[in-house]
Symmetry: C2
Subunit: 276 residues, 2 copies
């Protein structure tokens, strides 16, 4: 069996120099317009934590800041467990690339919290919207152009699909869609981190105008454990994303991912630069 | 005129050793049950960026991770502009305290994005709920106990006030309240960062049960510029917070802060540990 494209993108080699230092490379399979799909970069940042020999528990929170454009090719990731408590661990993570002059520069920063979780009381105050089943919704390519990463996902938009007419007629910013990896792969924390960033920029929907954009920061909270994700396996997730405030060059969008059975697996927020 | 308690809490002295290194101290005025109010700590982290000589622009995003308990007393904050682009700047920030053996340890990590913002098209897709005016709503102390920080805020809960009977009868997790500093102070980015954390833990409301809690990470996005905040001055803000997923020891809560005129000034999310 060949390696899944996401596992290729997530491949990190331990460095001999220091624990937590890894080398990897951008993936052509997840290329976006002018760099890698940000969801993959977020997943790689998380993966460096998951592969760290001192890892405690499983991901609870991840914030990734896109500081500079990533170029195609090799990168380094350094994950540091800055604080380990009894049941929680706090991480700082940096990705860097060698510049034109061979001088490495930081492209991406992140923080993560991992934790040993115990069974407690629980409740979902953000129930899954009532929507048609995945089989009732047509699969489409919702990409703005022929970019590679889009074809790595099976997307079945229920509402708020990417505009087909860029005529400035937009009046809301909510998308609901069923989604999963296009090639079968069991759900895990890294793929969930990437899936949290699969919603196209809300400003395009809101304005029906394809202005230049770039995510500057994304924060994802994880509400499931590894066993639960593995059990979902290759099932569909319901994704919902909506814009909040669009103001002077930046807007934020809020997203949720539920299992088909209605479990809220991840909540995610990002703030995005836009032009004009 | 005496110094406002928040300005005392935010007081940071530049270090001679290196740019971006500051010394400060926890504030008794904002003491919580077993440490400083997390909102003040978030504001201090942001303040180190705002006081950095190389600052570009104004805050867009701030993520603060509470890695270890802060003890009463002195701390150091180190703010580093890891990447400065044409119109954006990416920051990593760490707070540390000297331990029992005099060995400094990291208590708090953060990342921030600041930016030069230009006027663009804008829209608010999260309009302010219709609520009674501040004058129509009674001022109350919504603290879980007599903790100092609560008295630094004027809070007028419209709905979802802290339970008065801890009888396990909770059935929702939404609070709406008017709020502002108790002692007059014009709104700015630091106070907005602190105000974003003034919502008591949603699990207490949801369960009507005061279980032990602790925020592990908070992310706030800023949607206004300094002039807009200054113009709001000492006006009331409408705050809304709601829980999302409560699961195996952690829950997330989402919050918004609007000006009385209905401008969405900040959106904030946090993930909180809870026991049982």
């Amino acid at each position: 069996m060949s390696t899944h494209p996401l596992d290729k993108a997530l491949a990190l080699a331990h460095s001999d120099i220091r624990a937590g230092l890894f080398t990897g490379a951008t993936s052509p399979d997840y290329w976006n317009m002018v760099g890698p799909f940000g969801g993959t970069t977020a997943a790689v940042m998380l993966q460096s934590v998951l592969k760290h020999p001192e890892l405690l528990g499983a991901p609870v929170a991840l914030t990734v800041n896109y500081a500079a454009a990533l170029e195609a090719g090799a990168f380094e990731v350094l994950a540091i467990p800055v604080r380990t408590n009894r049941s929680t661990q706090h991480w700082t993570i940096q990705m860097s690339q060698a510049g034109a002059g061979g001088q490495p520069h930081i492209t991406t920063t992140a923080t993560a919290v991992t934790a040993l979780r115990r069974e407690t009381w629980g409740a979902n105050d953000l129930p899954m919207p009532q929507v048609p089943s995945p089989e009732e919704v047509e699969r489409v390519s919702i990409g703005p152009a022929r970019v590679a990463w889009i074809s790595q996902y099976e997307m079945r938009p229920i509402s708020g699909a990417i505009p087909t007419k860029w005529d400035g007629s937009g009046d809301h910013s909510e998308t609901r869609m069923w989604l999963r990896d296009a090639q079968p792969r069991a759900l895990d924390f890294a793929s969930l981190a990437a899936l949290s960033d699969t919603f196209y920029p809300r400003v395009w929907l809101r304005r029906a105008k394809p202005v230049p954009i770039g995510t500057v920061s994304i924060t994802t909270y994880f509400h499931a454990d590894a066993a639960h994700l593995a059990e979902i396996g290759y099932g569909y997730l319901l994704g919902r994303a909506t814009g909040q405030q669009f103001q002077n060059g930046y807007f934020d969008q809020s997203a949720q991912l539920w299992s088909e059975a209605g479990a809220l697996l991840a909540t995610s927020n990002q703030i995005v630069y836009f032009k004009e």
